[in-house]
Amino acid sequence: MSKFEILKKEEFVPNFYKLDIAVPGIAKKAKAGQFILVMVDKQSEKIPLTILDWDEEKGTISFIVQELGLSTSKMAFMEEGDSFYSIVGPLGEPAYLENFGTVVLGGGCYGVGAVFPIAKGLKALGNYVITIIEAKNENLLYYEEEYKTVSDEVILVTTDGSKGERGHIYDVLDNMIEVQKRKIDHIKVIGCNVMMSKVSKLTKEKGAIPTYATVTTIMVDGTGMCGSCRLSYDGKTKFACVDGPEFDAHKIDWDELIHVRNTSYITEETLGLQNFSPECRSLAKYQERTKEEEAS
């Protein structure tokens, strides 16, 4: 078993892969809510991914990858037996878990999987766990059966209404609070920042129900060294990699995070994906420039 080897790869819904990797050190220490930084190969950037599950005895960890940009596309091309160049973790502070009472967990996109260890942990602490998972349509919903084992209620929601309720996590939450008048003690959400910001706005208005969000940011080192993942939190600058990634959602400056911090490299990211073929890569800007220099 080589270092960072893929032991199992599974595409359970289109473009979503679950990878089991051999990293005994991380498997031993991982806690719910923590993440890893992954480099596919020597040329790759480092990207953060939430740890989905871990098995201390087997020495493996699992995470979910949504094929989206360059690095995740490279991962989609990897096979069982291939190895990652670098995996660092477990990073970040573990999620804040205790016996809150009734807890609602919301997971969307990659967060559908990422919420799993948190649900497991909260259930073990004696909470009444309600899990809401959201996808665009029924073909993209996953982990329903797994959630049934760690939740008291599982609510499915799809944008087009093809399965479960129609709408988004915050619509379901709104309904629970306004119509069903259910008492909710604690909410945790993981998914895209836009979804989380809307949940945050809703729960702030509805009597400030404690809401924690695991933010998605751009990272480089994951140890507090670069400040790439900084966000404004309660008027102060915080680093998602060491202070988070879970924060009190009501104190986050969501506008800045969504529209300023996380869109920094849109152009480069698009270009990177376009270049994701050997022919294009050989046309890299730098190589051209070096040639010119040498010629002159």
Binding site: G25, I26, K29, M39, Q43, S44, E45, K46, L70, S71, Y85, S86, I87, V88, G89, P90, L91, V220, D221, G222, T223, G224, M225, C226, G227, S228, R230, L231, S232, T237, V242, E256, H259, V260, R261, T263, S264, Y265, E268, E269, L271, G272, N275, R281, A284, K285, Y286, Q287, E293
Partner: protein, 577 residues
């Protein structure tokens, strides 16, 4: 050659890439000396009887000795001479601030240029590397103790290098996928080629040091677990000061504002300057503002220039003389066309509706009364502002201590800035945990971190093989005192470290040290050496192999140049602890 002739030789400048050319590439700026240039520069050294330069060096490189070897054309021997004290000569020759250390003390600097010690160090280290004549690493028999080193930066590498030679099993843990710490993520290729760092790490690996990458201590392992689960006998923490300081001014989180750490890490470690061949993106700018006046600011500015900027400004609060950057870096930056806006400080960053920066507003400063440090304090001028249009801003105003280790190790004492508190040899409040480098001192230099690494290695050795009881006899002589810093009997060697405390400031000539063992009134000499010049405050280490493990007592005799016995020390094996 007579001193008079040596005085006639002018300073040999190191040839460099022309500024216009190098400002557009990432290749190293200076080409280095040729053999002839090196000998010519070495001949300027007067080989002082009392070499001041050595005192200016935090790791006490035997400077006159190695320069003498260069004079004779013995370049390999010169490199090995340096390596007796410094495991990273190729690095130090490039990045040490020699002008404030060894070269500042050089007697020739009083009238004209001091000897180019850094240039010569670089030359011999490169000569050795390129010659392929690398001596086989000295295989030392293991002493049975294991040491973990956290962080593979300059201090960690030095500690590792020293300990491996003393028979320790040494493992270095590194958070990144490559070793070298600030040498690979911080210092750019054009100032320190990464192949040089890689070579030094390879040498340590050859000598037996193990490197474990992708491991963040504090997360994957706590300090306590290194002892309890992995069975280490000591842990050295050399994690650096990596927690960027921001200015806390409006607009700092806008797109296009980087900490220097992020900018340089993306460019150097992740090789964003080779984007898209390497995938990590890096925003580039046509008008780049770098805030700060240290080496990191210079590195950021010069990187930006090489990534196609038209204008690069350095905005610094104080005056040019007060800039902490290495003189050569400021000089190189200036040659390349970096524009300095001194006595200025940013107050606000302005952006467009998409959150991209557009400009930065700065306030002008003037020099006022001297502050506590004696430097004239910069005082803002009321109402005097100017605006620089900018599409990239890099903040290089320093780093705070990274709390990752100290947070997860509550019994490690830290000061109010979060730096680990240690004694002079790097011992922390936690037994068998040592620390050094920027995590202790705050942001400083590569060489001072290496000095700290060396001192910690001494402390580790002293603590893991604790002091034996020492009885002394006739030890003090008038005005000059040799103080025993450490005396010990190890399973295989007898070790002694002496310091000269000298109230008359006089140096001692021809001090003879003899270690012998006494059995039934017969004295057998095991080791004898002569120190030609011993300056006040200078420490010397001695160690000699034991012949018979059953011997419990050793006699150390120190004679002065007339053969007069200065002192006799009996070291007896009786562990105190």
């Amino acid at each position: 050659m007579k001193s008079k002739e040596r005085m006639q030789i002018p300073f040999t400048d190191m040839p460099t890439q022309p500024p216009q050319v190098r400002a557009k590439n990432f290749r190293e700026v200076p080409y280095g000396y040729s053999e002839e240039m090196a000998i010519q520069e070495a001949n300027r050294c007067l080989n002082c009887k009392k070499p001041k330069c050595v005192e200016g060096c935090p790791v006490r490189v035997p400077i006159p000795e190695f320069i003498s070897l260069v004079q004779e054309g013995k370049f390999l021997e010169a490199a090995w001479k340096i390596k007796e004290r410094n495991v990273l000569p190729a690095v130090c020759g490039r990045v040490c601030p020699q002008e404030t250390q060894c070269e500042a003390q050089c007697i020739r600097g009083k009238k004209g240029r001091s000897v180019g010690i850094g240039n010569l160090e670089r030359f011999v280290a490169d000569y050795e590397r390129l010659s392929g004549h690398i001596p086989e690493p000295i295989r030392v028999s293991k002493n049975g103790k294991k040491v973990a080193i956290v962080g593979s930066g300059p201090s960690g590498l030095t500690t590792a290098g020293d300990l491996i030679l003393q028979g320790y099993e040494v493992t270095v843990y590194e958070a990144f996928h490559l070793g070298g710490g600030v040498l690979v993520y911080g210092i750019p290729e054009f100032r320190l080629p990464k192949s040089v760092v890689q070579f030094e790490i390879q040498n340590l690996e050859n000598a037996g040091v193990k490197f474990v990458y992708d491991s963040v201590i504090g997360r994957i392992r706590g300090i306590d677990e290194l002892f309890t689960e992995d069975g280490y006998d000591a842990v050295y923490v050399g994690v650096g000061a990596g927690l960027p300081v921001f200015m806390n001014i409006p607009g700092e989180n806008l797109q296009g504002v980087y900490s220097a750490n992020e900018y340089l890490t993306r460019s150097n470690l992740m090789k964003a300057y080779l984007y898209p061949e390497y995938n990590t993106p890096l925003l580039t700018g046509k008008n780049v503002v770098v805030v700060g006046g240290g080496n990191v600011a210079m590195d950021s500015a010069r990187t930006a220039l090489r990534l196609d900027a038209d204008n690069v400004y350095i905005v610094y609060r104080r005056s040019r003389e007060q800039m902490p950057a290495r003189l050569e870096e400021v000089h190189h930056a200036e040659e390349e066309g970096i524009q300095f806006r001194l006595l200025s400080n940013p107050v606000e960053i302005m952006g467009d509706e998409k959150g991209r920066i557009e400009s930065i507003r700065c306030q002008r400063y003037e020099l006022g009364e001297p502050d506590k440090s004696g430097r004239a304090r910069p005082v803002p001028i009321e109402g005097d502002y100017f605006v620089l249009n900018s599409d990239l801003i890099i903040i290089a105003i320093g780093n705070k201590a990274n709390p990752l280790i100290t947070m997860t190790t509550p019994d490690l004492e830290v000061n109010k800035w979060g730096n680990i508190v240690t004694d002079e040899l790097g011992r922390t409040s936690k037994p068998f945990v040592y620390a050094g480098g920027d995590i202790v001192t705050g942001a400083a230099t590569v060489i001072s971190a290496m000095g700290a690494g060396r001192r910690a290695a001494m402390a580790i050795h002293e603590d893991l093989f604790p002091t034996t009881e020492v009885k002394t006899e006739g030890f003090t002589i008038p005005k000059e005192t040799l103080e025993i810093k450490h005396a010990a009997i190890y399973p295989k060697t007898v070790y002694l470290r002496l310091n000269l405390i000298n109230s008359s400031e006089k140096e001692l000539d021809q001090v003879k040290i003899r270690i012998s063992h006494v059995h039934d009134f017969f004295e057998t000499t095991m080791f004898e050496t002569t120190i030609p010049r011993w300056s006040p405050g200078e420490e010397h280490e001695f160690d000699c192999p034991r012949i018979d493990k059953n011997e419990k007592e050793y006699l150390i005799t120190i004679n002065d140049l007339h053969g007069k016995i200065m002192s006799k020390i009996i070291v007896a094996e009786e562990v105190k602890r």
